[in-house]
């Protein structure tokens, strides 16, 4: 397990755990991001991270991206986006 902030663009990962307050967890949940869901990292530069979750692009601030723990899903995505 490692934080989402350390992912590379194009990586497909599974969300394992979300630290942070109830409000933030619920907010992410209603956008489709919850433990067990597979997401694709579209862009991960020095700033915020962009992921694709349930077909939508969601931008997550760097601080928050450190609190979302993810794990490998086995295969690599084909849609590598070079940041």
């Amino acid at each position: 397990m490692w934080p989402l902030a350390l992912c590379k663009p194009g990586e497909k990962v599974v969300v394992k755990d979300i630290a942070g307050g109830m409000g933030v967890r619920k907010r992410l949940e209603s956008m489709g991001l919850y433990p067990g869901e597979e997401i694709t990292v579209l862009s991960a530069q020095k700033g915020p991270v962009i992921v694709r979750v349930k077909g939508c692009r969601v931008g997550i601030g760097r601080g928050m991206a450190h609190k979302i723990m993810v794990a490998a899903n086995g295969q690599k995505g084909e849609e590598a986006v070079n940041g």
Partner: protein
């Protein structure tokens, strides 16, 4: 009110909800605020059969956990006002996520639902085939397909809504249930909640409360704290939760979410067929995002677009400004002439010409600037770029203790602080919002430019540009420093984490861009009009009293006030009563500072520079400009600060700190400058 007259429209942001709303109600809309908060509330009328129905446009929301103002408003509206029918707009190409909201509404006990599968064209383009019938049968609610921006399916939608309004009873039950052990747990908890009305006003409500308690929702836990049966409920809650987690093997919160999304996944795999390859390719939006959110290109692109916005606001808006100004001058003269012709009292002519038309007019001349600023903003919003701007600025804004979303209101402040402060509504954290509002008036709005131009032109003709730029720069630096200071003093802690959806890029439709711009501009006119109207009458009165005195002369009450206030300004180097009065009148609107000096010195604005060059030195002129930049937000801004913070305390603080800071900085400039010059 007849319940059958209200339909609520709900949906995720970017589902095309506003387009559906516009297509349904046309221009018969009313924009206001939700009670107690300052989120825009839109209502419109639609004729369904022979019944006129009100459609309430709920804020765009993802769920109902009430983590932001928007979600709380939507939930409270659904629970307390109980609209007869709720129509939910969904993005057909993304049902995986968009079905979550209807599911939440069903859980809340909203039984009369109509699902609107919008953007069917995009779904088809993606190769998706949706079994609308099947979805409708399984969920037990009518499902309508639309392409709202092309008005496809709107008539069918109206028919469906009309039909649903005539139905007396809900036809089917709630289609979704949790795994059995969880359902049992909900039941156990519901039993104990039943005899306690605030927690269980209806059977569905009881189930919802039980569910929220199991999820650990802080708001509902707080409600239990007020219940007489608090201890029994809480101990049972702990027991049920522990039993369930032991049985499931992991935490309940996750289990509940998984069950909900699992159900949606089931629906989608059953009713949505994907033609062609399953592989998701890089969409056009992804490609554009690669460029505009790029770590090197993102910032320059953002700044360029901001520059374009300014250009549009000032050049095109400014083009109309002179004409409108002339129009008000003309109107004022004619009004005075008319009063003279009918042998009305001279005071009436003065009230109309100098007071009302002059005062209100001086604010309304900025309507074109406001209009074009909002036009640019609407375009950026409708295309989907605005979210990227906030995203790109996130890191820089962290230096101020705020996050990316605060940057947009700051930039808008260069145009006018009133709409800029209104734009803080997008911030979900109330603390971030208040800080952004408090420092916003430090952004040099377009009304301050005439002052800078006049004074810099009169006394710094060789370095006019540099001097004006230095004032804009000073404003930005002060805003950064004060945001940090207020953050440490009043609002400790991290800013809310940045989480925002980046909607797909879309070509905006002119109709909705213009409608949006028009509605926002109208609010500005209305609000500015009411506040300013009252103030100008008062100021005019003070300038005309006591009876028989020359209008706005030193012998008038306002002249007396000027003489009284002048000593306070003496340490800043401009302690003459005209300057004091100009700054006083300037509260009305900053550009009035220039107009007032014009009146008091009895010259046209062309020759005003010469007089000023006589009375001011470069040093005192600079101190005066610094004072004008900071000393107080104008009346319209004060009004909007009051409205948006919903607090007299913060309004008073904003006025207080800026008055002191403006005076203090002017004094520092003069006193320190004197040592060197």
């Amino acid at each position: 009110m007849d319940k059958k007259q209200v339909i609520a429209l709900a949906g995720n942001p970017n589902s095309g909800k506003t387009t559906v709303f516009n297509a349904l109600t046309g221009t018969r809309q009313k924009v206001g605020n939700w009670p107690g908060v300052t989120v825009e509330r839109k209502e419109g009328k639609v004729l369904l059969g022979n019944r006129e129905v009100t459609v309430v446009d709920l804020p765009g929301i993802y769920g109902l956990t009430a983590s932001s103002i928007d979600e709380r408003i939507a939930r409270d509206f659904l629970l307390t006002e109980r609209p007869f029918l709720v129509a939910i707009v969904l993005d057909s190409s993304n049902l995986d996520r968009h079905l979550y909201l209807p599911l939440q509404l069903m859980e809340l006990g909203v039984s009369r639902l109509v699902l609107i599968l919008n953007m069917m064209d995009e779904a088809r383009a993606k190769g998706l085939e949706i079994d609308v019938e099947g979805l409708s049968r399984t969920l037990g609610v009518p499902v309508v397909t639309t392409v709202a921006n092309k008005r496809v399916g709107i008539e069918e939608l109206k028919k469906t809504l009309a039909r649903e309004l005539e139905k007396e009873h809900q036809t089917s039950g709630f289609p979704f249930s949790y795994p059995e052990p969880i359902e049992k747990g909900i039941e156990r908890l519901s039993e104990i909640l039943k005899p306690h009305p605030p927690l269980s006003s209806s059977p569905h409500n009881t189930r919802w409360t039980a569910l929220k308690l199991l999820e650990g929702d802080e708001e509902y836990l707080a409600r239990v704290q007020n219940s007489p049966a608090k201890e029994r409920i809480l101990s049972l809650l702990t027991m049920v939760k522990e039993d369930l987690e032991a049985e499931l093997g992991y935490d309940l919160e996750t289990a509940l979410v998984e069950a909900r999304y699992g159900y949606i996944k089931g629906l989608v795999s059953e009713f949505v067929k994907r033609k062609g390859s399953l592989e998701q390719r890089l969409s056009m939006s992804d490609k554009i995002d690669k460029v505009v959110t790029n770590r090197f290109l993102g910032l320059p692109i953002f700044l360029f677009l901001m520059w374009l916005t300014f250009k549009l606001t000032f050049s095109v808006g400014g083009f109309f400004l002179d004409y409108i100004d002339a129009l008000f001058g003309f109107l004022g003269e004619k009004a005075a002439l008319l009063v003279h012709l009918v042998h009305g009292p001279p005071w009436l002519a003065s009230l109309l010409q100098n007071g009302i038309i002059g005062g209100v007019g001086s604010v309304l001349v900025f309507l074109p600037n406001i209009f074009f600023l909002f036009l640019a903003i609407s375009i950026m919003e409708e295309t989907g770029y605005m979210a990227r701007g906030a995203f790109v600025m996130d890191r820089l804004m962290h230096a101020m203790g705020l996050h990316g979303k605060s940057f947009i209101p700051m930039v808008l402040g260069f145009g006018c602080n009133v709409p800029a402060i209104m734009a803080t509504r997008t911030l979900e954290n109330p603390k971030d919002r208040i800080i952004t509002i408090l420092v916003n008036p430090l952004m040099s709005c377009s009304a301050r430019l005439p002052i800078y131009v006049l004074f810099a032109g009169a006394l710094f003709s060789a370095h006019q540009g540099t001097v004006i730029f230095s004032l804009y720069f000073l404003g930005v630096v002060l805003a950064i420093l004060l945001a940090r200071l207020f953050k440490t003093l009043f609002f400790k802690g991290e800013p809310a984490p940045l989480i925002m959806e980046l909607p797909p890029y879309r070509l905006p439709t002119w109709k909705s861009v213009l409608l949006n711009t028009w509605q926002r501009s109208l609010i500005f006119v209305k609000k500015a009009g009411t506040i300013i109207f009252a103030t100008v009458v008062l100021i005019w009165f003070l300038a005309s009293m006591p009876l028989g005195v020359e209008y706005a002369s030193q012998q008038s009450i306002i002249g007396g006030m000027g003489t009284f206030l002048a000593p306070i300004l003496k340490p800043a180097g401009f302690g003459f009563w005209q300057a004091a009065v100009a700054l006083f009148f300037g509260i009305l609107a900053k550009e009035v500072v220039v107009g007032t000096l014009g009146t008091l010195y009895g010259t046209g604005e062309e020759k005003l520079g010469t007089v000023i060059a006589h009375q001011f030195t470069p040093l005192t002129a600079y101190a005066f400009m610094v004072m004008s930049l900071v000393y107080i937000p104008c009346i319209a801004t004060i009004g909007v600060i009051r409205r948006e913070t919903n607090s007299w305390k913060w309004t008073a603080f904003s006025v207080g700190y800026s008055l002191f800071l403006g005076w203090f900085l002017a004094v520092v400039v003069y006193q320190v400058g004197r040592l060197f010059l």
